[in-house]
Subunit: 115 residues, 2 copies
């Protein structure tokens, strides 16, 4: 085994990725996981629950980003007598998830290729 290869096997690159808006942190791994989970579950309550988070926490993360951007990431509708309220990720929310996910995948590929 070459020396270079030995070092690569012992030392594993890891990273935290986020998106900045006007040079400020807006969208990181937590927001990505929350939107993804809400998208899958269809409601904030169920999406948060699937991640072991409270509704309040998940909604707070989303609201914080929406306030920084002045745009919505979720379209929410009030629940009826039976179904309860639903939440749909907006076009902006989907674009942020796609950008985050693309860069994250590119980083993973680059690290795999260099091993």
């Amino acid at each position: 085994m070459s020396g270079a290869r030995m070092y690569k096997e012992k030392f594993r690159p890891n990273w935290k990725l986020w998106l900045e808006y006007k040079n400020e942190y807006v969208f990181g791994p937590g927001a990505f996981a929350i939107l993804k989970s809400i998208q899958k579950a269809g409601t904030i309550t169920e999406g948060a629950k699937a991640l072991g988070m409270s509704y309040r926490y998940a909604w707070g993360v989303v609201r914080g980003i929406e306030e920084k951007l002045g745009e919505r990431l979720l379209d929410t509708r009030k629940g009826g007598a039976i179904g309860g309220g639903g939440a749909v990720v907006t076009v902006l929310g989907i674009k942020l998830m796609e950008l985050y996910s693309k860069v994250q995948n590119d980083f993973e590929r680059v690290v795999q290729e260099s091993r």
Copy 2:
């Protein structure tokens, strides 16, 4: 301008990279900058100073990593009457710097290319 391009221009990916050893954080941007600066300056004192750090802080970062790895990142020699002590980055230190720098450059390239 396409919608996708507009999103990419508004939202800039940023990241923190580090190297893990046995699933533990060992080498991040601070350690990289410190070793690089000591390598250039030739002494811990001058290397730390160039980064606006104290000798004590820079040496503490290096020592902390050396303790986790059980190996030296710097070869230090005591100063004589005139020259003062010097510090040379070890082969392991250089390999860590190279691996860190390679992945960091790959990440920068990937983000540039996707813009």
